[in-house]
């Protein structure tokens, strides 16, 4: 069984997303530790990409801050290796296909295994293209996370049946970013998923408030929050980790039951 499933053992999971190197890797390390101490069950670590086509303005800006701070794939691998000495929760990388491909996919995925990364979230690898990385992910025991979107409809069962680690359920149309309202009929989507797989499902995109997180977690197994955390980094910079810790505590309380 995948280590990722451990993230869903303490009630509903809360999953923060943090861009590595925004504004520097020391801040990222402190933010991850603050999140874990305050109840984060799994951390999604973003490897920045120059042209993140699935991101809204908030995470786009984080990518730019991180890249202009000089972070790169090598530095992030070294950072995770160090982080793993005391951080035990499951960790996944979120990045774009070209970051993995250009590094040499096998070298990249082998490195994930070696430094303790449990899964890969790659928004520009849909079901049809997963063979690009899946055989290597299997070889090295790294879960390739699948997405279900509000537009997936007739594709939900097909995707769910083959999903590994956890399923990333996209709450709304569009790119990442906070939303005042989420109107997708997640209950119906979840019913189809549940009929086809037992792996946990976490809902992401657009969630920022404890009320939203509670509502999303109520119909699934957890909530993923990115932009709201990145906003704290944009606002407080190197001082953000304590604010992130506080925010994670509130959010974990909201999703717990």
């Amino acid at each position: 069984m995948s280590n990722i499933q451990n993230a869903f053992k303490n009630g509903k999971a809360f999953i923060p997303f943090i861009t590595c190197g925004d504004p520097d890797l020391d801040t990222t390390a402190a933010a991850v530790r603050a999140a874990v101490e305050n109840g984060a069950d799994l951390i999604e670590l973003g490897i920045p990409f120059s042209d993140p086509t699935a991101e809204g303005p908030v995470i786009q800006a984080a990518n730019i801050r991180a890249l202009s701070g000089g972070v790169n794939t090598e530095k992030i691998f070294a950072f995770v290796r160090e982080l793993r000495k005391d951080v035990k929760v499951p960790l996944v990388f979120m990045t774009y296909a070209n970051v993995v491909y250009s590094y040499n996919a096998e070298k990249f995925i082998a490195a994930c295994r070696e430094i303790g990364i449990d899964g890969l979230v790659i928004p520009d690898i849909p079901f049809e293209e997963k063979e690009e990385f899946l055989p290597l992910c299997r070889k090295y025991g790294v879960d390739l996370i699948s997405f279900i979107a509000p537009t997936s409809e007739n594709r939900i069962a097909m995707i769910a049946k083959e999903a590994e680690g956890f399923l990333y359920v996209v709450s709304s149309l569009g790119v990442t970013g906070t939303r005042s309202e989420i109107t997708t009929d997640l209950e119906s989507i979840m019913r189809i998923i549940r009929a086809n797989t037992d792996i946990p499902c976490a809902v992401g995109f657009g969630i920022s408030t404890p009320e939203q997180a509670e509502r999303m977690a109520a119909v699934s197994d957890g909530a993923i929050v990115g932009s709201a955390i990145i906003k704290l980094l944009a606002q407080y910079g190197t001082q953000a980790p304590s604010h992130i810790g506080e925010y994670v505590r509130t959010m974990k309380q909201a999703v717990r039951n």
Partner: protein, 396 residues
Amino acid sequence: MTNQKGRFGVHGGQYIPETLMNAVIELEKAYDYYKNDEEFNQELQQLFNDYAGRPSRLYYAEKMTKALGGAKIYLKREDLNHTGAHKINNVLGQALLAKKMGKTRLIAETGAGQHGVATATAAALMGMECVVFMGEEDTKRQALNVYRMKLLGADVVPVKTGTATLKDAVSEAMREWTSRISDTHYCLGSVMGPHPFPTIVRDFQSVISKEIKEQMLAKEGRLPDAVIACVGGGSNAIGSFYHFIQDSSVRLIGCEAAGRGIDTFETAATIATGKLGIFHGMKSYFCQDEFGQIAPVYSISAGLDYPGVGPEHAYLHDIGRAEYVAITDDEAVNAFEYLSKTEGIIPAIESAHAVAYAVKAAPAMDRDKIIVVTISGRGDKDCAAIARYRGVEIYE
């Protein structure tokens, strides 16, 4: 084994978010149906002929030929199409297809503004809403085209992210499409992006080589020895090459934008300087750094200022069927002025890259050889920028 759908060798594919998958599948199904539908093809042919002004002329550039003293040069005059470029061929096809699919809104990216103008035009003609994403940098370089699009009833959204050029406009159009799919068709302007776009755009642009072939056979009774076209994403080039791919005697030459030179960082010559990668929905060659970050590219031409190239060109390069050469800003500007003075034809600065290669290649070829240069667009839009390049400020 990776997905073989929409592949050109290893290139192509569908590397897009799950949110868009059903949209591209729906598009593929609709296209597979309508491409063989007699009524659709009749309507499109009528739009091509009566609205866009096709067939475009194949003009024997006699003065240029004599001045260069080598191969006989013909110009395929896509600049004479309605809206002034080859872009209208693809747009009329996609807009008609979108309309048949029940879509009421077109979105598009644009670099030089020619594709944006063409999309705004088709939207006006067919009574559809239109939003065009354009890099803020390009809205400054091509202010006249921004005005034209607005005049045609389109909204123009200046894109401020990244390098604020064509690649960022594509990213923003893709983002917009994920947020509004049910009534919206993304009218992609080049032979790039996820399957089925590279195939759809190629098919609609292939009218260029179909006509060249017919016209050349009528005028010369034989095929040309070389076809030369500029390559950004590569739509006018693939359109110019397509019906000659099986004719191995015809050299196919794509001219990339070298910017200030392929040995500088200020270049957009993807095949000359890029490496294999995955971006904007496709596997192909991209200008990028060692960690896969997409490189900020540069060319004087907003339409060629793109860090990737269409997957079919990448494949034609791999198998050696087409040759790709890099033309600098300087060479393109010289060719822009040369064609204007020699033939009285002001080419788009994009097309001037193809003219520049013809000027270099023709003198070395025998006089019984024939080359065709596709003039993909007209150069009115570039006059202010070229004047600036020569140190002259123009006030309108």
